[in-house]
Every structure is written in structure tokens, then in C-alpha cells.
């Protein structure tokens, strides 16, 4: 109940602050299993992309969050687990298990996921090089549709280290789905995926 109210509150807030406009350029919103991958500049990114999705897709689309950061306080943990139902991934490599294991579980369940392949929030306009996770997922689940997305302007809403957000119009542009080519090299694929995200900046 509380979680539901919180999610409506956050949705309303992000709409008032940013307009949270979705622009479906390369594909329509559709109930198929997808991996959305986008640039990452602010905490508001997650809410942005989530608010841009139609209501029906929101419940089956889960974001990835860093375990160490988002489980630090009880509030952060509640926010990410009860409200957003995120998938936790640990960033440190002390554990023996594959860090992508929780993602495999989610995809096995038929959930769609939201991935920020840069791994951390960037400061500059240009996205950082993508981490290998996206490639590994694409390799293991070739049937899941990969959709690039560009989140515009959101770094101005809530820059790293600030608490009070300011209203700025933002948009999320979803591009044409892409696929891992047969025998495509990891570096080449990640570079291509990053280019697909960056290309959406100017459409």
C-alpha cells in the first residue's frame, strides 16, 4: 500500500518536474521481453525511464541497481525493493558467483530489464564505454529484444550530490531494436550498442 502510494508520488513528481515524455522512434511500446539500455547521468534516470513506459509494461520491467549503494540504508532498500522491484547486482568481485546471476534469474522469469551499461553515473555529456554485461546477456538470451534509449537533459534535474531536484523538461527516446551479430566480437558489439544510444541524441 505504502509502496504503491510512493510509486504514484514519484511518478507524479517526475511528471511535474520533467514532463517525462517518451518518444518511441525505432519501435512501439510492446509487451515482449526486452532489455532497455540507456545512458546514465542521474539517479532520476531510473524513474524517468520507468515513467516513460506505459503502465502495463512498468510492472514487468525491472531496473538494475548496485547492491552496495542501494541497500545501505533501510529507506534506500525499501525504495528499490518494494517500490521499484529492482534487481540487485554487486559491484565488488569478492563473491564467487557470476555478478550477472540475478539478471539471468529475472530474464528466465520473463521479466524485461532496464540496464545502464556504463555501470555508474557519468559527469560529461558523452557516455562512458559500456561494460561487458550487456554483451553477456545478449549472448545468453538471443531471443530477448535489445532496445537502446537516450535519456535527455535529466542530469540537470538532479546532478550528482544534490538533493533538491529542479524542473527541466526531459525526454526518453527509444531507438530501433538491435541484435548481436553472428560471431560478433565483444568490443565491436559494445561499441555498436553505445553508438546506437548516442545516435538517439540527435533524432
Amino acid at each position: 500500500m505504502l509502496a504503491k502510494m510512493m510509486s504514484y508520488f514519484l511518478l507524479g513528481l517526475i511528471r511535474v518536474l520533467t514532463g517525462s515524455q517518451a518518444r518511441w522512434h525505432g519501435c512501439p511500446p510492446k509487451a515482449e521481453q526486452r532489455i532497455y539500455f540507456a545512458n546514465h547521468q542521474s539517479h532520476a534516470d531510473l524513474v524517468m525511464i520507468w515513467a516513460a513506459l506505459p503502465k502495463e509494461l512498468r510492472s514487468v520491467t525491472r531496473a538494475i541497481a548496485a547492491k552496495d549503494y542501494w541497500t545501505k540504508t533501510p529507506f534506500k532498500k525499501w525504495l528499490t525493493s518494494a517500490v521499484f522491484n529492482v534487481i540487485y547486482v554487486s559491484r565488488d568481485r569478492t563473491s564467487d558467483e557470476d555478478p550477472l546471476e540475478p539478471l539471468f534469474d529475472a530474464l528466465q522469469n520473463g521479466d524485461s530489464i532496464i540496464l545502464f551499461p556504463e555501470g555508474t553515473r557519468g559527469f560529461t555529456g558523452e557516455p562512458q564505454p559500456f561494460k561487458a554485461g550487456l554483451y553477456n546477456l545478449a549472448l545468453k538470451y538471443p531471443n530477448v529484444v535489445l532496445v537502446p534509449a537516450w535519456i535527455n537533459n535529466v542530469q540537470h534535474v538532479l546532478p550528482k550530490g544534490e538533493v533538491v531536484p529542479v524542473p527541466v523538461l526531459c525526454s526518453v527516446t527509444f531507438g530501433a531494436p538491435m541484435q548481436l551479430g553472428a560471431g560478433e566480437d565483444r568490443r565491436a558489439f559494445l561499441e555498436r550498442a553505445r553508438a546506437a544510444v548516442v545516435a538517439l541524441r540527435d533524432v
Binding site: G19, Q21, R23, H156
Partner: protein
């Protein structure tokens, strides 16, 4: 005709305002039905049909804005001054959001932006609501003028500092200061005109809207040489003058709902319309600077701006000029 005039004049203020809204809602309803009937009409050839579709689309957009404006007024009037104030504050908020989205700021401006949206805006409207005329007219040009650049300077980022501060100050002047003068008219106390200030707000908005629509149509039909083609392809003195003239004449017609005789109403409308038309032109220059034709150009804007500012910018410039000239001249 005169009987009708005296009948209206002798109604109580509440009844008069009610009549006004009934008339306007009726006219809008007629226009909307007309637009709908036009939209279902069959056309012989494709080119004509296409032409009509485009015309109807802009007509539709204009009608929708008008419906929204009248609805806002109606709610504001029915629910009291504070609700009207809140509604205008919300318009200010969204207009400023559009303005600042297209004037990129740096991270160092974050604190001043927070101040602008969450402190300056509510305080300005609260001052208007409290009727503190001497404070709300200087609050932004004097106090905020120092406070916001200070917040930005404390962020320790000198890059393009003057440009950033100027943009923020301008946005606040237009979207908060200018806009807040529209509901401020509600607080003016003309002698013998108690309870009817809502008419004055309506008067201002109506004459400016009529002036802008006339100017827009005149510029399209007359096709005169633009004065400053690099800034606006359509702005010329002839269509501007025609817009102002028609707006002022409309103002004189509305004299019955103001505390003024037709001559005075004409002059007041003239001042508001001139300021509005020129202000719209100034905002065009600003948009050109940002390299966009409209704040919310459909399909082109990455920002998702709804183009609210395109519709209200004339009003933002007209309102302070109208307010202060009326207040100075009539000593209210």
C-alpha cells in the same frame, strides 16, 4: 440595444460575471461545433482536403487554448482569488520550466534554480495575494537580482557567468514577474468597482489575445516585408498596427465591464496590446538565439516543451505595463 445595455449595467456584479462566462462558453461551444462539422465534411480533391486539414488543426489548437484559458478563469472566479493566484502560479512554473530547458544552465546554477522555482515563485505570488504592491513590484528586480547570482557565484564556477545569470534573471522576469501581474490586477481597488476585478483580468487577457490573433492573421494575409527577417519572418509594422488597433477597438467595446468610459478603455487596451505585440517579438529574438522557431515545435523538440510560453509570452509583457500604467494614472 440601449435597453440591453442598461439591463446588463444594473445586474449585480456576480450576475454580470456569470453572464460573461455564459456568453463566452456559448461562443466557444458554437466554434467547437463548427470546427467539428467542418472536419467531417467531404472534399472533392486531395489537395483541398489537405489544406483544410492543416487549417483545422491550427484552429483546433487555438480553440483548445481558449477553452483552457476560459476554464482557468471560470475556476479562478468561482473559487476565489487564492485559487486564481495558484492557477497563475502553476502557469508560471510550467512557462519557466520551458524557458530554462532551452537556456542550458551549468551544474553550478543548480542552487539558484532551486531558489527560483521553490522560493522566488511562491514568495512572489504570496506577495501579490497579500496585496503588498510596493514589495511585489520590487521583489524580483531588486532582491532576487542580487540573491540568485550570489547563489551561482558561491558554486565557484566562473565560466560564462554573466550569460548564465542574465538568462536566469530574464526567465524569472518574464515567466514569474510578468505573469504574476495578471492576477495582481485582481487586487487593484478601483472606486465603485468592488467585486468586479475579475473583469479587469478578463479585459486584459481578451484584448491581448484578440490583438495577437489579428496580428497573426494579418501578417499571413498581407505578406508585407518583414522588418527584421533574421528574427521574425512575419513581424511588420502594418500587421502589428492593425493588431493593436483591432485589440484596442475591442477594448473600447468591452468598456461596459471596466470602470472606464470607452475612450479610457481604448487607451488602456492600446497600451496593453502594443506591449504584448512587441514583447512577443522580443521573445522571438530569444528563440532565434536558441535556434528554435517555437518553444514547443511539434515533432522537433527533444525537450517535449508544450509551447505554453508561445501562447503566454505576449501576456507576460503586457501585464506589468498595463498594471503599472493603470495604477499610476488612476492612483489606485
Amino acid at each position: 440595444m440601449f435597453q440591453m445595455y442598461y439591463y446588463l449595467k444594473n445586474l449585480s456584479p456576480t450576475q454580470q460575471v456569470g453572464m460573461l462566462f455564459v456568453t463566452i462558453f456559448g461562443l466557444l461551444l458554437l466554434a467547437s461545433v463548427g470546427a467539428f462539422l467542418l472536419s467531417v465534411r467531404e472534399h472533392a480533391d486531395e489537395a483541398r482536403a489537405d489544406f483544410w486539414r492543416k487549417e483545422l488543426k491550427s484552429l483546433d489548437a487555438m480553440l483548445r487554448t481558449s477553452w483552457l484559458m476560459v476554464l482557468v478563469f471560470w475556476i479562478g472566479w468561482a473559487a476565489g482569488d487564492w485559487v486564481a493566484l495558484t492557477l497563475f502560479a502553476i502557469v508560471s512554473f510550467f512557462a519557466l520550466r520551458e524557458f530554462l530547458t532551452l537556456s542550458p544552465t551549468r551544474l553550478g546554477d543548480h542552487r539558484s534554480l532551486v531558489l527560483a522555482f521553490f522560493v522566488v515563485l511562491p514568495v512572489q505570488y504570496a506577495l501579490v495575494g497579500g496585496g503588498h504592491f510596493d514589495m511585489f513590484t520590487v521583489f524580483i528586480p531588486v532582491y532576487v537580482f542580487l540573491a540568485l547570482p550570489l547563489a551561482s557565484a558561491l558554486a565557484n564556477d566562473p565560466l560564462r557567468f554573466l550569460e548564465r545569470s542574465a538568462k536566469l534573471q530574464w526567465g524569472i522576469m518574464v515567466c514569474i514577474y510578468g505573469m504574476s501581474h495578471v492576477p495582481a490586477i485582481l487586487m487593484l481597488k478601483f472606486p465603485g468597482y468592488e467585486g468586479r476585478s475579475a473583469f479587469m483580468v478578463f479585459f486584459l487577457v481578451a484584448v491581448v489575445q484578440v490583438c495577437m490573433v489579428t496580428q497573426h492573421i494579418a501578417a499571413q494575409r498581407m505578406r508585407r516585408k518583414p522588418i527584421a527577417p533574421a528574427i521574425s519572418q512575419s513581424f511588420n509594422w502594418d500587421s502589428w498596427g492593425l493588431g493593436v488597433l483591432v485589440g484596442s477597438l475591442f477594448g473600447a467595446l468591452l468598456a461596459g465591464i471596466t470602470p472606464w468610459v470607452p475612450g479610457t478603455a481604448f487607451a488602456a487596451a492600446f497600451i496593453a496590446c502594443s506591449a504584448g505585440g512587441l514583447g512577443h517579438f522580443v521573445m522571438k529574438a530569444l528563440k532565434r538565439d536558441r535556434g528554435i522557431p517555437n518553444w514547443g515545435a511539434e515533432g522537433q523538440s527533444v525537450t517535449g516543451a508544450g509551447g505554453l510560453l508561445d501562447r503566454v509570452d505576449a501576456l507576460c509583457f503586457a501585464a506589468p505595463v498595463f498594471f503599472h500604467s493603470a495604477r499610476w494614472y488612476f492612483g489606485v
